[in-house]
Amino acid sequence: MLVLAVGALLTIPVIVFLAIGLRHDPHQIDSPLIGKPAPPFALADLEGNVVRLEDLRGTPVLLNFWATYCVPCVAEHKTFMTGERVLGERLRLLGVIYHDETSLIRRFLGQRGEWGRTLVDPGSQVAIAYGVYGVPETYLIDAEGIVIDKITWPLATPEHLFAWLGQHGLAR
């Protein structure tokens, strides 16, 4: 019967389509920068010394965007302190402040210690260049300056950090 055929033709694809849709998470966005050269930047740290990304060629770089009001970032702080101690020169750790006040950052680091270099990003231009949605977000850049991964969740423990680096052949 025509009605049955038309009805089936309309119903079944719709249900299948929505079922497929169920398996995707619309909040999970992949970064288009993966596999591309990392956007260059020249940012000043808290003492005013400029750090240029291209000067760091030859060593992998971990770029972490964070802020003091972000609770998971606070947890991540310990991870990076440990990570720096263990990895030493094998990985450059850079933190970029995202929409926060420098005075609060100074107080935070003064209390808990500083890892790597902490860079100030006026106008969030570097955050925009990297496609940052929120904090914490961490980018992994290899020795040739190519972005090899981005994660948008906190590295809550050092083990998480080493596991992630190990995935890309960068640790130990």
């Binding site: 049955l4 009805g7 089936a8 249900i15 929505l18 849709g21 619309p26 992949d30």
Partner: protein
């Protein structure tokens, strides 16, 4: 204790529905009065159980019984009482429970109010509604259980979403929306009953049409209140962003309006029966689809929750219902096609057909736009957004088509007529179109769309007022005074007056939307105490005061902004930033100064430690008229529920008398 009570009530309701559904269907098939009595009883029992379950949840909320899962989720001792009452529908599980309540109330309404005649239809209807009830009670009892017991019970809870605590509209918008949304189950059930019974005649068409009008009126208000709430609370200065949850409420509204118009034609001319039935069924399916979209996390939305277990269940229900509808239509296709195809492209029937086409096309457009991100991801693996720019571009032409039809449709006569009469009918309101165009030009409109709106609105307004008052004028020519003429006309044909009043409301809303989106001005600036001022749209804004107010559940940073216009002080507005203990980012509450001509809309962008504030000001004309216009639409829709006099006539001949009166008016 309440946990067990609530869960027990819901499980009992599930059983009642599971028993009542087959009882209803069998009673309908056998045309048995005892079966119908039983089905009615079970329907009322379902309603009572839902009412009790919701009261139990309210009790748990108000007594802050944190051993109940839902209370632990949205309750808080710091929340004000009126917000606590409203938090029943503030989160997923509670809103499904509330859905059950509204469904129960509608079921009781149908069971009680549909007394006279139509026994077998009624039995089928109750059977269908209770089948839907099975699904929802299963949801409440299982995947979306708000009554779960927490042991040990937490000491306090996080309170409802802060966005829902900012405004009084939150109290009205969800119930209104649910009364519309859930109410679509009833005309759906009645259409199913007609198909099962094998007939859809005028005696069952009347209740179907009435039970379609009621949720449509509520849905109209609900959608508008959603936009109004978004405007007053979210702080971005707009009222409609084509967010999936807004679209989810808009889609069934579109097909419901098309169904209402088809029902009019069905009643007066006997055609468009298939359109009416199918549109009513699609409306219900869209309510389920819409709920699925917003509750399953399939699309990115303001309302959406992360993947929850009820997504797949809703999808299964949607699938089953769609299959059932298709099978039913296939089996009963002859019920729908007994009428010869007498529609003609000219004259009013054709206009109604075109109307249906445009509404369905509009609905499909919005649906495609809402669902496309899913398709794009499935096919290309990348995420795309389909947002306001796309929706506006697509919906504006269709809307103009509808505005044109509101003018042309009623101007055209029923049935075929000669070319000269048609030309006369269509050209007669043309001066009004030119007047509208001229007025728009005078008021400063220069862009094409704005001028087109003016012309079409002028035309439509003329036709609407002319036809709406025609019976009155005829009576006045016969010597009656204007008030009496109107009163008699209204009593004899309230639906005519109601219909044209609704159209009038649509025109007002349309014009208001066009004006508000075309002539908006905005500006941003930094103000500090005693210095700095922002000039927008003729207003001068200066900062009077900045303060902090501590409330138990939030910290409010408020700015008092002095508003002046042309040197004259007009008072102060107080936009604020609310920092809730449970949220990282503050939520801004705008301050709005509404007048008949325009709104002044202020939002705080930030409040710095040194007492400077970043302020954004938007001046939008005619916003108030959008809400007023929709209100008029709803009032008109309500009037259409009234029956023309005379009343107090036995059932069968009453139907004939009414239809006779209809054909005469």
């Amino acid at each position: 204790m309440i946990s067990y009570l609530g869960q027990g009530l819901v499980l009992l309701a599930l059983v009642v529905c599971a028993v009542g559904a087959p009882v209803g269907f069998v009673a309908g098939a056998r045309r048995s009065p005892e079966g119908l009595r039983l089905a009615r009883g079970l329907a009322l029992a379902f309603a009572a159980l839902m009412v009790l379950a919701n009261l139990a949840m309210e009790w748990a909320l108000l007594t802050h019984d944190f051993s109940v899962k839902y209370v632990a989720l949205v309750g808080s001792t710091a929340t004000p009482t009126h917000i606590t009452i409203v938090s029943l529908w503030s989160s997923l599980e509670g809103s499904i429970l509330f859905w059950g309540l509204v469904l129960g109330l509608y079921t009781a309404g149908v069971a009680i109010l549909q007394r006279r005649g139509h026994e077998d239809y009624l039995a089928y209807t109750l059977g269908t509604i209770l089948s839907v009830g099975v699904f929802f009670t299963y949801l409440i009892a299982g995947p979306a259980d708000p009554f779960g017991l927490l042991d040990p019970a937490p000491a306090d809870g996080p309170g409802p979403n802060p966005l829902l605590q900012n405004h009084a509209l939150m109290i009205v918008h969800p119930p209104m929306l649910y009364l519309g949304y859930v109410g679509m189950t009833v005309p759906f059930a009645m259409a199913v009953a007609a198909l099962l019974r094998g007939q859809l005649g005028p005696t069952w068409l009347r209740p179907l049409r009435n039970w379609l009008l009621v949720p449509t009126a509520f849905l109209t208000m609900g959608v508008m209140l959603g936009g109004w709430w978004s405007y007053e609370v979210l702080g971005w200065g707009g009222y409609w962003a084509w967010d999936p949850v807004e679209n989810a409420s808009f889609l069934p509204w579109l097909t419901a309006i098309a169904a209402v118009h088809s029902a009019i034609v069905l009643q007066r001319r006997g055609t468009l029966k298939a359109w009416t039935v199918i549109l009513v069924m699609i409306t219900f399916l869209l309510t389920i689809l819409g709920t699925f979209l917003t509750r399953s996390g399939v699309v990115n939305s303001v309302h959406s929750f992360t993947q929850s277990p009820i997504g797949p269940v809703f999808l299964a229900f949607l699938g089953v219902t769609m299959i059932a509808v298709v099978v039913l239509l296939a089996m009963r296709v002859d019920t729908l096609t007994t009428e010869p195809a007498r529609e003609t492209l000219v004259a009013r029937e054709g206009a109604f057909l075109l109307n249906n086409l445009l509404f369905v096309a509009f609905m499909l457009t919005v649906l495609v736009g809402t669902l496309f991100p899913i398709a794009a991801e499935a096919v290309r693996g990348t995420k795309v957004s389909v947002g306001e720019p796309w929706f506006n571009r697509m919906s504006v032409p269709i809307s103009f088509g509808l505005l044109l039809l509101i003018g042309i449709g009623p101007a055209l006569p029923w049935g075929r007529s000669d070319g000269a009469a048609l030309r006369r009918a269509l050209l007669w309101p043309l001066p009004a179109a030119l007047a509208g165009l001229g007025l728009t030009w005078l008021l400063g409109g220069r862009a094409g769309p704005v001028l087109l709106t003016g012309a079409l609105a002028g035309y439509a307004l003329w036709v609407t007022v002319d036809h709406g008052l025609r019976p009155t004028r005829t009576r006045m020519k016969k010597g009656e005074g204007p008030a009496q003429a109107f009163g008699t006309s209204f009593r004899r044909a309230p639906r005519l007056i109601g219909g044209y009043l609704t159209h009038f409301g649509v025109i007002v809303t349309f014009v208001a939307i066009a004006v508000s989106s075309s002539f908006q001005t905005s500006g941003e600036g930094v103000l500090s105490l005693g210095s700095g001022s922002l000039a927008v749209g003729g207003y001068e804004l200066t900062l009077d005061d900045v303060g902090v107010v501590e409330e138990p559940h939030r910290t409010v940073r408020q700015a008092e902004v002095a508003v002046a216009r042309g040197g004259r002080a007009l008072g102060t507005l107080a936009p604020s930033l609310n920092h809730y203990d449970t949220q990282r980012e503050p939520i801004g509450t705008p301050a709005v100064r509404t007048s008949l001509t325009h709104d002044l809309y202020l939002t705080l962008m930030n409040v710095r430690g040194d007492g400077t504030v970043g302020l954004r000001a938007i001046v939008t004309p005619a916003v108030l008229w959008i809400w007023i216009g929709v209100f008029i639409m709803t009032a008109g829709t309500g009037l259409c529920l009234l029956s023309p006099r005379p009343a107090r006539v036995p059932a069968v001949s009453r139907a004939a008398a009414l239809d006779g009166a209809e054909a005469a008016s």
